[in-house]
Homo-oligomer: 337 residues x 4
Amino acid sequence: MNYSEVLKNARENLNGSCKVCAVCNGKACAGQVPGMGGKGTGEAFTVNVEALAKRKINMRVIHNASNPDTTIELFGKKMELPVFAAPVSGTTLNMGGKYTEEEYISWVIGGCLDGGIYPMVGDTAVDSFLITNLEQVKKFDGEGVAIIKPWENNNVIKKIKLAEEAGVFAVGMDIDGAGLITLALHGKPVEPKTVEQIKEIVESTKLPFILKGIMTVDEALLAVEAGVDAIVVSNHGGRVLDQTPGVAEVLPAIAEAVKGKVTILADGGVRNGVDVLKMIALGADAVLIGRPFVTASFGGQREGVKTYIDNIKGELKSAMVLTGCKSIKDIDSRVLF
Amino acid sequence: MNYSEVLKNARENLNGSCKVCAVCNGKACAGQVPGMGGKGTGEAFTVNVEALAKRKINMRVIHNASNPDTTIELFGKKMELPVFAAPVSGTTLNMGGKYTEEEYISWVIGGCLDGGIYPMVGDTAVDSFLITNLEQVKKFDGEGVAIIKPWENNNVIKKIKLAEEAGVFAVGMDIDGAGLITLALHGKPVEPKTVEQIKEIVESTKLPFILKGIMTVDEALLAVEAGVDAIVVSNHGGRVLDQTPGVAEVLPAIAEAVKGKVTILADGGVRNGVDVLKMIALGADAVLIGRPFVTASFGGQREGVKTYIDNIKGELKSAMVLTGCKSIKDIDSRVLF
Amino acid sequence: MNYSEVLKNARENLNGSCKVCAVCNGKACAGQVPGMGGKGTGEAFTVNVEALAKRKINMRVIHNASNPDTTIELFGKKMELPVFAAPVSGTTLNMGGKYTEEEYISWVIGGCLDGGIYPMVGDTAVDSFLITNLEQVKKFDGEGVAIIKPWENNNVIKKIKLAEEAGVFAVGMDIDGAGLITLALHGKPVEPKTVEQIKEIVESTKLPFILKGIMTVDEALLAVEAGVDAIVVSNHGGRVLDQTPGVAEVLPAIAEAVKGKVTILADGGVRNGVDVLKMIALGADAVLIGRPFVTASFGGQREGVKTYIDNIKGELKSAMVLTGCKSIKDIDSRVLF
Amino acid sequence: MNYSEVLKNARENLNGSCKVCAVCNGKACAGQVPGMGGKGTGEAFTVNVEALAKRKINMRVIHNASNPDTTIELFGKKMELPVFAAPVSGTTLNMGGKYTEEEYISWVIGGCLDGGIYPMVGDTAVDSFLITNLEQVKKFDGEGVAIIKPWENNNVIKKIKLAEEAGVFAVGMDIDGAGLITLALHGKPVEPKTVEQIKEIVESTKLPFILKGIMTVDEALLAVEAGVDAIVVSNHGGRVLDQTPGVAEVLPAIAEAVKGKVTILADGGVRNGVDVLKMIALGADAVLIGRPFVTASFGGQREGVKTYIDNIKGELKSAMVLTGCKSIKDIDSRVLF
């Protein structure tokens, strides 16, 4: 199965919920929430892709980096390349409903492990989705990460316990879910969190804790103060707040402030191996990729997910040769034009 | 009735005078005056939308602003959110003629009051439109604002008296109507005004007086000198002078010069709650929204107008959560990227 | 006859040589030389329009400029507005051939005089065109300007004599025609000119002499040194050299260097009264307009040309009201945002 | 045969592998590798064209450069204009397969020589292509340059010997081919090279040696250190690494660092004579043109190639007149706006 076939099948299997465009940039699906788009004008999605595209890289060919090493170690795990599948859930609501949540996420998890990387699984307004996701992680020996919505603290902590029971090796919270003000009307309020509230959550678990949804330097510093192990620089794929800047725009200043104090993951608009290289060069330790894993899972199941990961790895390795980087830690601002 | 239905109906009821585009940005209707477009190239309309879109906002999630207050008080009135319906009239000429001026404006007024905000009503070359608009305001207990064209001073003052009789709680003048040089040929000249002329008008009424059509710092200072209570930073939706900058571009410098000395209203390209947040962050005390109220009224009558307002309020509140603003006065330049 | 009708007819009468686009910006006709387009990529045409569009203007309404005066005096002539019809010839080659050179130019000349402005007429590789153009100018009592190609000096001087005999009140040379290297193969070489050569031409006539085709400060200073009365800042509508900057981009520096020492005319992308205002604000004393006069002449003959001029005048006057300029000399950089 | 006919025929003969767009800018063919496109998003191809288009040139007409000399001498050869046909091979894979490699390259070589310039011929994963290319060069008395892929050094040196036997007057290596990591799987690894490795190659031949694929100042300096005779500033037409900057963007700094120490050739997005002028003004000694020679060869065979060269020469000469450059060495940064 090659990647063109995966995309062709995905176009069909997603039932119009995603057009599987030549470049996945948020234009065709602008405003489609539910669906795969960015919220409102959709520009907080498109800006992620554009912010990355604006950064160009220096090709270098006079060196001896002929066989670069793409692997990293994070949260005690060896990874073939510095990429996580981002937590994306809600097959019924967002992905056209052809496949169940169980099918979809099992293919993502299996394909990631086949490809030598790890999946993150997500949480939504509907409680059962997290349950399903955790069941699948458990079937794969807990080889994944669970990201919980910012419910009231006691609920967050309860759900972290569920994730621990599923055997995950790290947990986190996508705190930018706090803008879903309508959930309060249904008795399930989400909320922004103070440093103290985050501390309480961090201290509730022995697992590495990831805070997802940081877009400013000041909040990156607060995250460090709250004791998290990693932050995800992310605007939630443009799905919670219209009109944010792109992740690649805010990442360098955040990295300058907290690099080394906390693991920095970047999530926004990454589509291929060159994008991975750019995000690392901009200061990330690793990246999250979201929508393309939906396409890969719907278009080629477990094998499609692995195919996509292999593609990224090949692109990353070739890009490392052509920028003179022998290992992931060699990728720095010298790579950027 | 949801907002998608409102838009769908509006597309039909506006008889092609407005295409009700996915993003109301002045491109499809460029040059359509009469009609809903911007004058000439239409770029003074499109630039309003683009100038706002260029400004991006900082998402923040580590704080305790979980239930922000969107209300303000202005001209002695409590408002659910810092938004006025802008004065837009001329159903026959500009909006396809399916509904009468009376129908259209009564839905705008009623819907605004249902939604907890206030309408401004307008004045045109045809005298009867102002009469109709004021009659409707009177039916709603004067809960609105009348904006008069810059006729010769004695005529302006006469029309202000008519507005007072209708019970409005504030009056104003859209002084940028002065460019309609053909009105002089029909014996109804409009004109720019000197500070002295504006003073005479301001002193003719005890109501708060709003000067609409300020686009430079120097004229904002002259407006203060003339004793107005509020200015509207506005290029008249791009309908009087082609090729001005966007309102969001000129607003910050104007706010820096006169903030606190006069109420600052911003009018240009605001479409949703995030746009409201941006304008406040750029220095406005409140905003005016124009064309979307035409769409809402033609597409869903009084209920459509309320639906639109509720939408904006929800978006604004969610955006305040995700930028850490507990109240409207907390929204400042820290929100801007 | 209104201007929409003129455009509609022009679309038909130009036989596809010009599409009469909503905005005449050089995109649809890119590369069509012969034809109405810019040379090569066409970007030296489009850049003229874009460079003007980029400059925005300050709307001002607190003043007493309610009835501005659009007239100027130039070359001893009173003009209703600071606009010349640019020299454009070659009906057969460039304009689809429906009307003869004689018809086309007689309508331009007559319409200009009806509208209170003056035409420039041009010269091409085919000698007869200049003859025809001068015959028509003569019929209208010499109320026009002749612009000669940069032939070898003795030929330029001969043609200037022909123009004098036709009674023109000024002459000039579009020196940027020097790039037509193929003319040399046909025994009619054109050439760039040294300061001395230009001096010889200037001294050959008692008429005011206009040097058309200046795009740099250094050459504006050389033109002054050569003793010309006026320069035209022009890239020949993008028809001689691909990839120049836009006229509105180079004009301010040129004006700063030679304003007052020589009359400055600007020619590039002007379409309407607001564009005229911008060019004056950028430093021009008056402007040339090219392609729109072809459209007006082909679409409405002499009356079409007058209609177009009246439109520009109305737009200019309205724009002067809304920028607070009582006369053309009041239009300065304060108008520019 | 005129160039329009060449393009028309090419559109047919390329069997859809190239759409022969009005402007050859990499948009229609984005990602088509194999094919004629740029790799991945295709933006490393499009950026070459855009980077050139962004630079504008100063038109000058007051001077005596009426008959400029477009010739240069390079590698001991007199050239009618400072242009090489870039090495492009792979008819079967990339160009639709209608013509054989032998036909295609013989037309390029013959047409170049007819037009007074020289061709470079290339090397690919399939050994036979280089053989065919060299056979053709030999038939034309070795009047060409061979560019070898960065195989392991002994293989590069072997292939240089083959080129010498064919009689070429210069050889080179497109070192940016090093990113083709899949070739290693087929037992034919390519690799980046250290300065020492490059030195070994340079010293293996008495012919002038050209290093193609330099995009940074530091590597231009390393190339000088390695003793090469010329560098080609090139991103391989965007076909090896997505997301590089454009050649015209990196060229000025490279020229500033090594001009005079090594011959500087520029390869990226050059389409016409004005582009040639720009590249020279940005610091190149001569340019390479790639895809347009494919179009010319497929569309008009040997005569089509000559026609294209004649066009460029005419455009260059006309542009030199209009920028006041009497010879190629007169073209400097003063030409650039």
